[in-house]
């Protein structure tokens, strides 16, 4: 069976900066895949290309058997590709409930609306309490919950998360990852970009390690955790290039 998502020969440039170089990547349906690496390695660029926010200079994106490259960003969520962007990207002057409704904007919501809101509020009780408040008043962790809840309202097949742990207190990070695990357990395919390599490796099945725009390693997360290069570079301090 062909994978749900297949990326080949991806090249991304911002002016003179070559952010992603000949990147190949596959995500199977139902799989949990993580992209780890240092700041500026090009991880977010990959997600932004997949979401349609960044135009690559070269490369082929295949999703569910059809080409994604020419599909405009706003149509991709309708195909089941959802991104929770870095920095969460909530709408600060919409209420929490309005933010959640934006998640379901692309599909006709009928009688199931209340039920789906309930599902999200069930995961995050805090959001239910504050549903009529504007989202800008939420704390960072609550905003991340809202961003996750909003992505769930989109009913994605492929959920991409960009640095969900960024700027959050450790307890909140645990809570967020617990929910991400639950979402994956419901059968949603996961592509996770994360600086906190340990968390990402514990949650996912397979990992790609990126350095300077290239994939330098791809393996099962179990193998990565045992890999001395990964251990010293990402579960310690040095980069793979330095260790070599």
């Amino acid at each position: 069976m062909s994978p749900l998502l297949e990326v080949s020969g991806l090249e991304v440039r911002y002016g003179g900066i070559h952010a992603v170089r000949s990147l190949n990547l596959e995500v199977g349906a139902g799989e949990r895949v993580t992209l780890i690496g240092a700041n500026g390695a090009g991880k977010s660029s990959v997600l932004n290309v997949l979401a349609g926010l960044v135009k690559p200079v070269a490369g082929k994106l295949t999703y569910d058997g059809s080409l994604l490259t020419q599909v405009p960003a706003w149509q991709r969520v309708g195909l089941g590709v959802a991104l929770v962007p870095e920095g969460r990207g909530i709408f600060p002057r919409l209420t929490i409930e309005e933010n959640l409704l934006m998640g379901a904007y692309h599909r006709a919501l009928g009688a199931s609306l209340a039920q789906e809101l309930d599902h999200v509020y069930g995961l995050f009780a805090r959001l239910r309490e504050r549903r009529h408040q504007v989202a800008g008043t939420l704390s960072g962790g609550e905003q991340q919950m809202l961003a996750l809840g909003r992505a769930l309202m989109a009913k994605p097949r492929l959920l991409m998360l960009d640095e969900p742990s960024m700027g959050l207190a450790p307890l909140m990070v645990d809570r967020i990852f617990e929910v991400i695990g639950k979402i994956a357990a419901e059968g949603v395919t996961l592509l996770l970009v994360e600086q906190n390599a340990r968390l990402a490796l514990e949650l996912c099945d397979r990992a790609y390690v990126m350095e300077s725009g290239r994939v330098v390693l791809s393996d099962s997360t179990a193998a990565c955790i045992d890999n001395p290069l990964v251990r010293s570079a990402y579960l310690g301090e040095k980069t793979i290039a330095e260790v070599r």
Partner: protein
């Protein structure tokens, strides 16, 4: 007291028109942080299109009500098309350009609209046919004419409709989301290009109605009439807090009243030295005062961006 109440009625009429036009400025600013200085000229096009259609139909023997209805509908169609075209041709290609570029484009567009209108309708004053009923309500010497009542009620209905659309519908939610974060709005499945075009079309529709109101109220139209009207409506939008819909309504009504009061009392206050023809001064005094004392406007958010 009579003068006060009479000027209040006159001011609310004028203010309703300012508010409709101010909404167009504030909607476009809210969604793309652009001052569409050609907006006043869209009002002018609506005014002249409406006026000429009404005059023509009245000449053909149409009854006043149907002639005016047809005039308003045609002005609406013309302005909505114009608003859509302006966004598509003049602003969309500059979406990623520095902010000065679309501003200069707006001024150029304003000149183009005025000159094309001068070619179409001539450089003289066009008069509105005397077909409107002159019935009026009188109460203790304060007069509310039929046309004033129609302007105020119709404007309030349109503004209420717009607020409901923006605050209570899924489309309005998408508009607000696009204004706050266009990239993320796209991730939610919002076709932001279409939302931005729609914002121009809606603002232009309000401009069309306001334009017909102006020519019906003052009985005269001219190809340069959009300039001063646009500046005042822009002032109203800044007074209310640009980007804020309720602020535009409040600013418009307030500015209309200030101007009417100023015109009503300036003669007495200066011993007859200045007359009511100085009324335009008040709008700009208000603009200066707002910019100096409270630049975010009455309902505006604290400004974050540097210009």
């Amino acid at each position: 007291m009579d003068i006060f109440l009479q000027q209040l009625v006159n001011g609310l009429t004028l203010g309703s028109i300012y508010a409709l036009v101010a909404l167009g400025y504030t909607m476009v600013y809210g969604i793309m942080e652009l001052i569409n200085f050609a907006h006043g000229d869209v009002v002018m096009v609506g005014a002249l299109a409406g006026l000429s259609v009404i005059a023509f139909l009245v000449g053909q023997g149409w009854p006043a009500f149907w002639a005016v209805t047809a005039g308003v509908l045609l002005a609406l169609a013309a302005c909505m098309l114009l608003g859509w075209g302006i966004e598509r041709v003049a602003y969309r290609p500059l979406r990623k350009a520095p902010k000065l570029a679309p501003l200069i484009t707006a001024i150029g567009l304003s000149i183009v609209l005025q000159q094309v209108s001068a070619l179409l309708w001539g450089r003289g004053y066009l008069s509105f046919p005397a077909i409107l009923p002159t019935t009026s309500l009188s109460w203790n010497g304060v007069i509310l004419t039929g046309i004033q009542a129609v302007i105020i009620v119709l404007a309030l209905l349109l503004m209420a409709g717009l607020l409901v659309l923006v605050q209570r519908t899924s489309l309005g939610r998408a508009m607000r989301a696009t204004a706050q974060n266009p990239a993320v709005a796209q991730l939610m499945g919002v076709n932001t290009d279409r939302i931005i075009a729609l914002t121009f079309v809606l603002g232009s529709a309000l401009a069309a109605v306001a334009g017909v109101m102006v020519v019906a109220y003052y009985n005269v139209g001219h190809y340069t009439m959009g300039f001063m009207l646009g500046l005042k409506a822009f002032t109203a939008a800044v007074l209310g807090g640009i980007g804020n819909l309720a602020g535009a309504v409040l600013g418009g009504l307030l500015l209309g009243v200030v101007e009417a009061m100023g015109a009503g009392y300036i003669g007495d206050l200066t011993g007859g030295y200045f007359g009511s023809n100085y009324k335009d001064v008040f709008a700009f005094l208000v603009l200066i005062a707002v910019l100096v004392l409270h630049p975010n406007g009455l309902l505006g958010r604290r400004a974050r961006e540097k210009v």
